[in-house]
C-alpha cells in the first residue's frame, strides 16, 4: 500500500515541480490579493488521532497550479481565484479528499483518513456516473470476473458460470436489455473494444471460452463500469460498458514484484445419491413398469455363489471416482521501471490450476509489456503487447440439453447416475477384482436394450485423456500502438491502433472403452465420436482522436472527437466423425463414418464518428454531451432510422449528462453532516449491434444431395431494413459523503426502454424462407443500485470499514414482434415464456398439488392426458395431481408462470479490518428472490429411467394410501410426472461468504527486499440458502432466456489460498 502511495506522491511531486514559478504561492506571508482572488485558510488533521498533518498538498480543484502545503500545525493558506469552490487535499498514506470552501469564512478544514480505507473521492468530478474498482491482487483467481463480483456487486449483476477454473461469469448491467441478442456489457480493455466471442460454440458441452481468463488478474489495475454516457460506444454500448485497464509503469525506479500463490479446493457439495441397496430396490421396482416378460435378472440374484454376484454387488461411490480435492498454483513476476524517455511494465505469469472434477485442469502462460515512450517533446508513443496461452483438459460437463435422447457423456453426471452396485473395475472369472477398468454397463440390455447402458466414468476419464483427445487451447496476442501528438497546449491528436488475434483449437473424443454406443438421434448408433475444432478471430481497430482542452477562468471545456474503425473476423471450422475403430487413433481421418464439417465465417466492419464535449463551471456544474454515428456491415442497406449518408445507413447515438455538486455552492454551509453531495442526471441513446453478420443480405448456402453432389439454394432473404436495437436510458443518481467523510453513499436509478428488438419474424410464405431477422418489439427496464460504506473504526492502529451494496431491476416486455402476446421456447427441459407485460424469460410450466395417495382420490379427480392419437389416459394413485384450469384434461393450456429467474435484490456486504500490518477483509455476496429451475434434480429425481436417483426417491409412492410428495416411478414416465413443473422450481436466494482474506505485511526495508506480504484467503466458506442443488449460483449461457437453469455444472466449492508477495 505504501508503495502505491509512494508512487502517487512521486508522480505528484513531479507535477508540482514542473509548474512554472508563478504557481509557487508563498504560504505564510500575507500578500495583497489580486482582483478576483481570494485567500483560503484551513487546517488538515488526521481523522484518527486528531493530530495536525504536515506536508499535505492542497490544490484548487481542477486548477492544480494553485497549490499550497500544510505546515507543522497542519495549517495552510492558499490563494485561489474567486470562482474556485473546493480544494483537493492529498498526502502520502492518506486518501484524497475534495473539500468545499466555506465562502463566508474563506476556510476549508479537512480531516484525512489513511489509505487503508477504500477511497471516497476521485481526482476529477464527472458529469457521468461510473464506478471503479481497484483490483486487489491478493487472490488466487484466474480471471477478473470474481473480482468484479466482489467489488462491483450491485453495479454489475454477475453470476459465476460454474466451479470450473477461470470459467468466468455472466454479467448483466441495468437489467436485461435484449431478448435474443447479446445482453452482456461491452468489454473494453485498455481502450480497445473486445469481441468477447459470446455465444460462440464449444465442442465440449457446458464449457464456455472466457476470454477474460487470458488476462492475469494481477496485471489488471482497475475495472470501471459506466452507468451512463455510453454514446462514445455507439451501437455497442446499450448493455453497459466495462472498462478494464492493465497496469502501466508509475515509477522511475525499477521495481520487481514476485507473486507466489497456492490454493487448495475441496470437493464440491454434491447431491446425495442412493446407495447400492436402495438403488437395487429402485431398479427392480422400475423393471416392473417396463412391461418386461423376463422374470430373472442377473443383478437381482442374491445368491453369493452366483457367477455374476460380485459384479452386481458392489457399493461404489462413483463421485469419488471423478471428484477430488484439487491443488493449484500460480507464479508471477512484474517488473516496472524506466526513465524519462521510456518506461515499461513487464509481467510474466504461469498458472497451473487443477479442478475438483478430474481432468478439467487449466494451465496458463502470460506475458504482457505495456510501455510509454517519449519520442520528442510533443510526441509520445504507447506500445503494448501481450501474449497468453491457455490450455485446458476438458470433458462435457452438466446435464445435456436433450438428455433423454442422447448418450450421457458428462463424467460429473455419470458419477451421480451410475448404478452404485457396479464397480469401476472388472472381476475375473474367479470373482477377484482386477485392475482393468470396467466397460459400459449392460445389466439392462436384456430388458431395455443397449440404449440404457451408461459409461464407466473412470474409464471415460482414463481413455479420453490426451492432447489429441480432449483438450482446449487458446492463444491470444494483442498488439497496440498509440502515438499521441501534442499539437499545442490545448490540442492533442492520437491514433490508437490495435490488433488482437485469438486462436482456439480443441479436440473432443469419447473413448470406445468404457463407453456404450452413442445415439445419433433418428439415424443410428455409433461406437464413438471424434471432433476437432479450430477457430481464429482477429480484430483490427483504429481510433483516431482529437482532444482539445481549455480553461477560461471558471469555465472548463474539454472536447474529444474522432473516428473509430472496428473490423472483426471470426472463422471456425469443425470436423466430426464417428467410429474411430480403437482408442489409439482418435484423430479425424477419412475412414470415419458419418463425417461432417461445419464452419463459421463472420466478418464485420463498423465505423463510428464520435464527438464528446465536457464542460464544468466552477467545479459546481458539470455537463457532458456526446454524439456518435455508426455504420456497420451488419446493418441493412435500407435502414429507416438514423442517417443515410455516403450510401450507407448510420445510427445516431446521442447522450447528455449533467451533474451538480451542491456542496460547492456558496450558500452551502460547511457542516460535519454533509461533506459532499453530487446529483447527476442523464439521458443516453445507445445501440446493440449484435446482429447476425449476414442477416441483412440475401445469399445462397450450400446443400448436399444424396451425399454426393453439392447444390446452392437461397438460404436467406435479406432484411435490408435490419438495424441495431436501440436503448434509451434515463439515469438519475447521487453521491454523498457524510459525517466528516466517514460514510459514503451512492445511489443510481435508471429507467430504460429498448426498441427495435431483434427477433425472428415469419416472412410471408412467398419468400420460401420461413423466418427472418427483423426489428420489432420493445422492452423496458427500471431499477437502482445503492452502495454504502462506513468507516466504522478509525483508531490509530485499528481501522474498520463496512459496507453493503444492493441492486434491483425490473424488466418488462412491452411489445413482441407480429403483435404476438407471448412467445415460448423450450430449452434444457424448461419451457420459457416471454409475455407482454411480464419480465422476459419466465418459467412456464405445470403446477402441482401433491401426489394422489389413493386410487379413489385419483378416480374422483378424474384427470387425464390425451395421447397423440386422441386417446385419454387417466392419472392414477401415485401420480402427480396437476392443477388444471377448468377441465379434467391436463394439457398445455394448464401451464402457468411458475418461476422468475430474476432476483429481487442482489449485491454484497463487506468488512475490512486493519490492525497495523495485519489486514482482514471479508465479502459476502447475495441474491434474493430469484427462482431456479433445477434441471439436474429433474433428471436425478424424475423416477422414469434407470439413472441412480437421489435419496429423496426412497420416499417415492409405492403403496395405496401412502402420503408423500414423490410420485410413483414408471419407466419412461407415460403420465409426465416428471415434466417441467413447479416440482423443479426452487428459491435460488442465497447469502454466501464469498471470500475472507487475511494478510500481513512485514515491515522489511533492506537493499534486497522492499516489502514482503503473506496472505491467505478462503473462498465460499459458508452459504445460507434453501436451494437443494449444489450451488444456486450457476449460469449455463449468456442468453437472458436461459437464466436460472441449473444443469449441474461443476459447482463452486470451498477453497483456500496462500500467497506470498515479494517486492524487490
Amino acid at each position: 500500500m505504501k508503495l502505491v502511495s509512494g508512487i502517487i506522491l512521486s508522480l505528484f511531486t513531479v507535477m508540482v515541480y514542473t509548474q512554472d514559478a508563478s504557481s509557487q504561492i508563498p504560504q505564510r506571508k500575507t500578500i495583497t490579493l489580486e482582483k478576483g482572488m481570494k485567500q483560503v485558510t484551513g487546517q488538515v488533521l488526521d481523522a484518527s488521532t486528531g493530530e495536525p498533518l504536515v506536508g499535505v498538498q492542497i490544490l484548487a480543484y481542477d486548477k492544480s497550479k494553485y497549490a499550497a502545503m500544510t505546515n507543522e500545525e497542519g495549517k495552510y493558506t492558499i490563494i485561489v481565484p474567486d470562482f474556485v469552490t473546493s480544494l483537493t487535499a492529498r498526502a502520502d498514506g492518506f486518501g484524497l479528499i475534495i473539500c468545499p470552501i466555506d465562502t463566508k469564512n474563506k476556510q476549508a478544514n479537512v480531516k484525512l483518513y489513511t489509505d487503508e480505507f477504500s477511497p471516497m473521492y476521485d481526482f476529477k468530478i464527472k458529469a457521468t456516473k461510473e464506478k471503479t474498482a481497484s483490483i486487489n491482487s491478493m487472490n488466487a483467481d484466474l480471471s477478473v470476473d470474481q473480482q468484479v463480483q466482489i467489488n462491483l456487486g450491485a453495479d454489475v449483476r454477475s453470476i459465476v458460470r460454474s466451479g470450473q477454473q477461470g470459467i468466468g461469469a455472466m454479467f448483466l448491467m441495468n437489467g436485461l436489455n435484449s431478448l435474443v441478442s447479446n445482453a452482456q456489457p461491452l468489454v473494453v480493455i485498455d481502450g480497445v473494444i473486445m469481441d468477447m466471442q459470446y455465444n460462440r460454440a464449444s465442442i465440449h458441452d457446458g464449457f464456455y471460452n472466457n476470454l477474460l481468463a487470458n488476462i492475469n488478474v494481477s496485471d489488471i489495475e482497475n475495472v470501471t463500469v459506466l452507468k451512463n454516457g455510453t454514446a462514445l460506444y455507439g451501437a455497442k454500448g446499450a448493455n453497459g460498458v466495462m472498462l478494464i485497464n492493465t497496469k502501466r509503469n508509475k515509477s522511475m525506479a525499477t521495481k520487481i514484484d514476485v507473486d507466489i500463490t497456492g490454493s487448495f479446493e475441496n470437493v464440491p457439495n454434491l447431491p446425495d445419491m442412493m446407495d447400492a441397496t436402495d438403488y437395487r430396490y429402485y431398479a427392480s421396482e422400475l423393471l416392473g413398469t417396463t412391461g418386461t416378460k423376463l422374470t430373472e435378472f442377473k443383478f437381482l440374484k442374491s445368491d453369493p455363489n452366483y457367477f455374476y454376484y460380485k459384479q452386481y454387488h458392489n457399493n461404489t461411490d462413483w463421485k469419488k471416482q471423478v471428484y477430488r480435492d484439487a491443488f493449484s498454483q500460480s507464479y508471477g513476476i512484474n517488473v516496472q521501471g524506466g526513465d524519462d524517455v521510456a518506461s515499461y511494465n513487464l509481467s510474466v505469469g504461469y498458472a497451473n490450476a487443477n479442478s475438483t472434477l478430474n481432468n478439467f485442469n487449466m494451465t496458463r502462460f502470460n506475458l504482457r509489456l505495456n510501455s510509454d515512450i517519449n519520442l520528442s517533446r510533443n510526441l509520445d508513443v504507447r506500445f503494448d503487447a501481450s501474449y497468453s496461452d491457455v490450455n485446458r483438459d476438458l470433458r462435457d460437463d452438466g446435464v445435456a440439453e436433450n438428455v433423454a435422447k442422447s448418450t450421457v457423456t458428462s463424467v460429473g453426471l455419470l458419477s451421480l447416475i451410475k448404478s452404485p452396485f457396479l464397480s469401476p473395475y472388472q472381476y475375473d472369472v474367479y470373482g477377484n477384482q482386477s485392475s482393468f477398468l470396467s466397460d459400459a454397463d449392460d445389466y439392462l440390455n436384456e430388458v431395455i436394450g443397449s440404449e440404457a447402458s451408461l459409461a464407466n466414468p473412470s474409464s471415460m476419464l482414463y481413455y479420453g485423456e490426451g492432447l489429441n483427445k480432449n483438450n482446449f487451447g487458446n492463444r491470444m496476442i494483442n498488439l497496440a500502438i498509440t502515438p499521441i501528438y501534442k499539437l499545442n497546449q490545448n490540442l492533442t491528436l492520437r491514433e490508437h491502433f490495435n490488433f488482437t488475434l485469438i486462436n482456439t483449437n480443441s479436440n473432443y473424443y469419447t473413448p470406445l472403452r468404457g463407453m456404450p454406443s452413442l445415439i445419433i438421434e433418428d439415424v443410428t448408433t455409433v461406437e464413438n465420436v471424434a471432433k476437432s475444432m479450430s477457430s481464429h478471430a482477429n480484430t483490427f481497430s483504429s481510433d483516431t482522436r482529437l482532444d482539445w482542452t481549455k480553461s477560461y477562468n471558471s469555465h472548463n471545456v474539454h472536447f474529444t472527437g474522432g473516428l473509430r474503425v472496428y473490423n472483426t473476423l471470426y472463422a471456425m471450422n469443425m470436423l466430426q466423425g464417428y467410429n474411430t475403430g480403437n482408442d489409439k487413433t482418435p484423430n479425424i481421418n477419412t475412414s470415419l463414418s458419418y463425417k461432417s464439417t461445419t464452419g463459421v465465417d463472420d466478418k464485420s466492419l463498423s465505423m463510428t464518428y464520435y464527438a464528446l464535449g465536457d464542460y464544468n463551471f466552477s467545479g459546481k456544474y458539470f455537463l457532458s454531451g456526446g454524439l456518435s454515428m455508426e455504420a456497420s456491415s451488419r446493418f441493412g442497406s435500407d435502414v429507416d432510422a438514423g442517417l443515410k449518408m455516403f450510401g450507407v445507413s448510420w445510427g445516431l447515438f446521442p447522450s447528455i449528462q449533467g451533474s451538480w455538486v451542491a456542496t460547492n455552492e456558496e450558500w452551502f454551509k460547511s457542516n460535519s453532516l454533509v461533506n459532499f453531495l453530487k446529483v447527476n442526471v442523464g439521458y443516453d441513446i445507445s445501440g446493440n449491434d449484435d446482429l447476425d453478420c449476414t442477416a441483412s443480405r440475401t445469399y445462397f448456402g450450400a446443400v448436399r444431395l444424396l451425399n454426393a453432389v453439392d447444390g446452392l439454394v437461397i438460404s436467406n432473404i435479406g432484411n435490408t431494413k435490419l438495424k441495431w436495437e436501440t436503448t434509451k436510458r434515463f439515469t438519475f443518481g447521487t453521491d454523498m459523503n457524510l459525517l466528516e467523510n466517514r460514510m459514503n453513499m451512492s445511489i443510481n436509478l435508471f429507467k430504460s426502454q429498448t426498441d427495435n428488438l431483434l427477433s425472428l419474424k415469419s416472412m410471408d410464405y412467398v419468400g420460401g424462407i420461413g423466418r427472418m431477422w427483423s426489428n420489432d418489439g420493445t422492452l423496458a427496464n427500471m431499477g437502482y443500485d445503492v452502495s454504502v460504506k462506513v468507516r466504522l473504526l478509525n483508531l490509530k492502529n485499528m481501522k474498520m470499514e463496512v459496507g453493503a451494496s444492493l441492486g434491483h431491476y425490473e424488466n418488462e416486455l412491452t411489445r413482441l414482434p407480429n403483435n404476438a402476446t407471448s412467445s415460448i421456447s423450450e430449452m434444457y427441459g424448461a419451457t420459457i415464456l416471454s409475455k407482454v407485460g411480464s419480465p422476459i424469460g419466465l418459467f412456464y410450466g405445470y403446477q402441482t398439488n401433491g401426489v394422489y395417495s389413493t386410487t379413489k382420490d385419483a378416480r374422483d379427480d378424474g384427470k387425464y392426458i390425451v395421447l397423440k392419437n386422441g386417446a385419454k389416459k387417466y392419472f392414477k394413485a401415485g401420480d402427480i395431481n396437476y392443477v388444471s384450469n377448468n377441465d379434467q384434461e391436463i394439457n398445455e393450456s394448464d401451464r402457468a408462470v411458475i418461476g422468475n429467474p430474476n432476483p429481487d435484490f442482489y449485491g454484497n456486504l463487506f468488512a475490512n479490518l486493519s490492525l497495523k500490518n495485519l489486514k482482514l477483509s471479508a465479502v459476502f455476496n447475495y441474491s434474493l428472490g430469484n427462482d431456479i429451475f433445477n434441471y439436474q434434480r429433474m433428471v436425478l429425481e424424475g423416477g422414469s429411467n434407470f439413472y441412480n436417483q437421489t435419496t429423496a426417491l426412497n420416499n417415492r409412492w409405492t403403496t395405496e394410501g401412502q402420503i408423500t410428495d414423490i410420485p410413483v416411478i414408471t419407466y419412461q414416465d407415460p403420465m409426465g410426472n416428471s415434466r417441467f413443473s413447479d416440482r423443479w422450481i426452487e428459491d435460488g436466494s442465497y447469502l454466501r461468504l464469498k471470500t475472507v482474506t487475511l494478510s500481513y505485511t512485514w515491515p522489511i526495508h533492506n537493499t534486497y527486499i522492499q516489502g514482503l506480504t503473506v496472505w491467505g484467503s478462503a473462498n465460499n466458506l459458508w452459504m445460507l440458502t434453501k436451494y437443494l442443488g449444489s450451488d444456486p449460483e450457476t449460469s449455463i449461457s449468456n442468453d437472458v432466456l436461459l437464466q436460472g437453469i441449473d444443469r449441474g455444472l461443476l459447482p463452486q466449492s470451498r477453497n483456500f489460498a496462500l500467497g506470498l508477495k515479494i517486492n524487490i
Binding site: 483504429s542 483516431t544 449476414t694 440475401t698 445462397f700 454426393a708 410471408d764 419468400g767
Partner: protein, 567 residues
C-alpha cells in the same frame, strides 16, 4: 488484411471530408455463403449447383405431395395411432398451423427456380451449344410442377415468376391464379422445351439422375387435363408414350389367379407388388430422397403407411373400406384352358376367399398389402399389428407408366373417345386391339391420337390396365360399357370406370384426391362447379357403404373446403 484495414481507415478519413460513398466497403465477403450478387449464373460450372439446389428443396415437399393427395382421398383410412395432424387432414379441418400446411416450402422451390430463370445467361455457348438450355428447361418444368401442386392443394395461389430477393419483395400482395390460369401460363411456358433433353449428370449417389427430372410432355399433359384441353392432354400423353426411340408399353406385370387350374385356390401370382422400385421400368420419375437422416431429408411415408422400428410398428394409415369394397366388387375373370380337352372357359372368381379376405375381386390391393401379427419381444412398446404396403421406397415417385395410361384414357374419354379410353382399361392399346375394339368413327376422329406403333406395342408387352389385377379383363363379359342413352352418358360411364381403375391401380400413391377433384371438375363444366357430389360422396364414403359421413359430405359439397387454408 493490413492493407485492407489501411484502406478502410483512409476511406473513413476521406469520407469525413469528401463524402465519397462507402457502401461497397461494408459489403464484406464470406467463405460460408454466396451472396446473391456473387452468383450471376454466367459460367458453365454454375449449371449443376442450381439444379441440385432445386432438387434439395423439392425433397421438402416430396412426402407432402403424396400425403395431401392420399390422406384426404377415399382410399385410405387412418388408424387410431395417426397423429392429430394427419387426422385433421383426413377430416378437412387442418388449419394454417397444420404441419403439412407449409406453402413456404413450395415457394422455396419456386423462388430458387425463379432466380435461375431470371438470371441465367441462356445465350452462353460452349462449342456452339447453349450451356444452360437443358437446366433451363428442367428448372422451368420443376417450377411448373410445383405451381401445379400448389394449385391442387390451395386452389388459388399468389403467382410469381420473378425472384424474391428482399424482404420488401416478399411482402408484396401478389396476384393469385387458380389452376386453370396456372395451367394456361405454363402450357405456353413449357411448350418450347418439349424436345429439350434432361441434363446429363449420370449417376448421383447410386441413382440415375435422369429420373430426377420431370418429363415435360407428361407435365404438359397434366396441365392440359386440368385446363380441360383434353385433345392437347391426350396428345402429350400419347406422344410421350409412343416416342420412337423409347416406346412405353404397359408391360405385363400383373397379379392374377393362375390359368392352369380351374379353381381359385391357393395364392395368386404376384408380379404387381414388385414393380414399385425406382430402378425398374415402371417408375418414370421421382424426387430423390436421402438414404439416412444424417445426410438430410429421408422420406417418412414408409413410417406413415408401414410398420417400422422407427414407429415401433404403429403405422398410421391403412386401406379404407371403400377401397376394399371397390376391389371386392370387381369381377375377376380367368381364361382356363383344359390342356386335355383343349377347351377354354372363362371362370369368375368367387366373392369369398378363405386364405385372405383380400383375395377377392381385383387383386392389386392384396398384391401390395401385407399384414401380420408379430410376437412382441421382451418389451411391450412395439405394436403386434404389422403392416406393409409395398408401394413405398426410399424415393418419392412423381410419375409412373400405368398412371399415364389412365390419364391418357381420362383425356381421350373426355375428348369424345370413350371406346378408345375403355380399350386402355380392357384390352391395351395395340394396333390389333384398336382396330377390333374401337369403333371406326373414333379411330378416324382420333387420327394420330390412336397411332400406336405396330412393332413397339404388341400383345407381348401390352395389357389392359384392368387386367393388371382383375384377371383377363379382355375376356370378361361383365366388364363392358353398358349401353347409355347418350354419348355424354357413355363418357361419364367410362369415366367412372377410369376413376375406379385409378383407385385400384394407384391407391396410396398420392394421386387420389386430385383425381377426384379433376373428374368432379370435368363433370361440372369445368370450373363452374355447381355439383360437387362426385368428390364429396366418394370421400364421405371412404369408410364404406355403411358408414357414410354426412357431415363430411356436406362440407365437401362446397369446393373451397377442398383446399387447405393459406396463411
Amino acid at each position: 488484411m493490413n492493407k485492407k484495414l489501411l484502406l478502410y481507415f483512409s476511406v473513413g478519413i476521406l469520407s469525413l471530408t469528401s463524402l465519397t460513398g462507402c457502401q461497397g466497403l461494408f459489403n464484406l465477403d464470406s467463405e460460408q455463403v454466396l451472396f446473391v450478387e456473387d452468383n450471376p449464373l454466367d459460367a458453365p460450372t454454375d449449371t449443376v449447383y442450381s439444379v441440385i439446389g432445386v432438387l434439395n428443396k423439392l425433397q421438402r415437399i416430396a412426402d407432402r405431395t403424396v400425403l395431401l393427395g392420399e390422406i384426404r382421398g377415399d382410399l385410405v383410412s387412418l388408424t387410431p395411432d395417426a397423429s392429430l395432424q394427419l387426422q385433421a387432414l383426413a377430416d378437412f379441418t387442418a388449419g394454417t398451423d397444420n404441419e403439412y400446411n407449409a406453402p413456404e416450402d413450395y415457394y422455396a422451390v419456386i423462388n430458387n427456380c425463379n432466380y435461375f430463370i431470371a438470371n441465367v445467361d441462356t445465350s452462353l455457348k460452349k462449342r456452339n451449344s447453349p450451356v444452360f438450355m437443358k437446366e433451363y428447361a428442367a428448372i422451368k418444368t420443376f417450377r411448373a410442377w410445383t405451381y401445379l401442386q400448389l394449385a391442387q392443394i390451395y386452389g388459388s395461389v399468389p403467382f410469381i415468376t420473378e425472384p424474391i430477393l428482399t424482404e420488401k419483395q416478399a411482402s408484396v400482395n401478389y396476384e393469385k391464379k387458380d389452376i386453370k390460369a396456372i395451367a394456361a401460363y405454363f402450357v405456353e411456358d413449357l411448350k418450347p422445351y418439349i424436345n429439350t433433353p434432361f441434363p446429363s449428370y449420370g449417376s448421383i449417389g447410386g441413382s440415375s439422375s435422369q429420373s430426377f427430372f420431370i418429363p415435360v410432355r407428361l407435365l404438359l399433359g397434366d396441365l392440359c387435363l386440368w385446363a380441360g384441353r383434353y385433345i392437347d392432354a391426350a396428345t402429350y400423353y400419347h406422344d410421350y408414350l409412343t416416342m420412337l426411340n423409347r416406346p412405353m408399353p404397359t408391360q405385363l406385370s400383373r397379379t392374377q389367379w393362375t390359368n392352369s387350374t380351374n379353381t381359385f385356390e391357393g395364392y395368386p401370382s404376384n408380379n404387381f407388388g414388385n414393380i414399385f422400385s425406382a430402378t425398374g421400368t415402371e417408375v418414370l420419375s421421382y424426387i430423390p430422397m436421402e438414404s439416412t437422416r444424417f445426410n438430410g431429408l429421408v422420406s417418412d411415408l414408409v413410417n406413415v403407411f408401414n410398420s417400422t422400428t422407427l414407429n415401433k410398428n404403429f403405422y398410421q394409415a391403412t386401406f379404407s373400406n371403400a377401397l376394399k369394397e371397390l376391389s371386392k366388387s370387381q369381377s375377376n375373370c380367368k381364361v382356363y384352358e383344359n390342356t386335355l380337352t383343349s377347351t377354354r372357359d372363362t371362370l369368375f372368381a368367387p366373392s369369398e376367399n378363405n386364405i385372405n379376405n383380400l383375395f377377392v375381386g381385383d387383386l392389386r390391393l392384396a398384391a401390395v398389402y401385407n399384414h401380420a401379427t408379430v410376437s412382441n419381444n421382451s418389451f411391450n412398446t412395439y405394436s403386434t399389428s404389422y403392416q406393409t404396403i409395398s408401394k413405398f421406397g426410399a424415393q418419392v415417385y412423381t410419375y409412373r407408366r400405368s398412371v399415364i395410361y389412365l390419364r391418357y384414357a381420362e383425356a381421350m374419354n373426355r375428348a369424345g373417345f370413350p371406346k378408345a379410353a375403355f380399350a386402355v382399361l380392357k384390352y391395351g392399346l395395340t394396333v390389333g386391339n384398336i382396330g377390333k375394339y374401337v369403333d371406326s368413327t373414333e379411330i378416324r376422329a382420333a387420327g394420330n391420337l390412336l397411332a400406336w406403333d405396330n412393332n413397339a406395342f404388341t400383345s407381348l408387352n401390352t395389357l389392359g390396365i384392368h387386367s393388371k389385377g382383375s384377371g383377363e379383363a379382355n375376356a370378361n363379359k361383365h366388364y363392358v360399357i353398358q349401353p347409355q342413352a347418350t354419348k355424354a352418358d357413355s363418357i361419364d360411364f367410362v369415366e367412372d370406370l377410369i376413376c375406379d381403375e385409378m383407385a385400384l391401380e394407384s391407391a396410396f400413391e398420392g394421386y387420389r384426391f386430385y383425381d377426384l377433384m379433376r373428374i368432379t371438375m370435368h363433370r361440372n363444366d369445368l370450373y363452374n362447379t355447381s355439383d360437387n357430389d362426385y368428390l364429396a360422396s366418394k370421400v364421405a364414403g371412404r369408410k364404406g357403404a355403411t358408414q357414410f359421413n354426412q357431415d363430411l359430405y356436406d362440407d365437401l359439397k362446397i369446393q373451397t373446403n377442398w383446399y387447405l387454408p393459406l396463411k
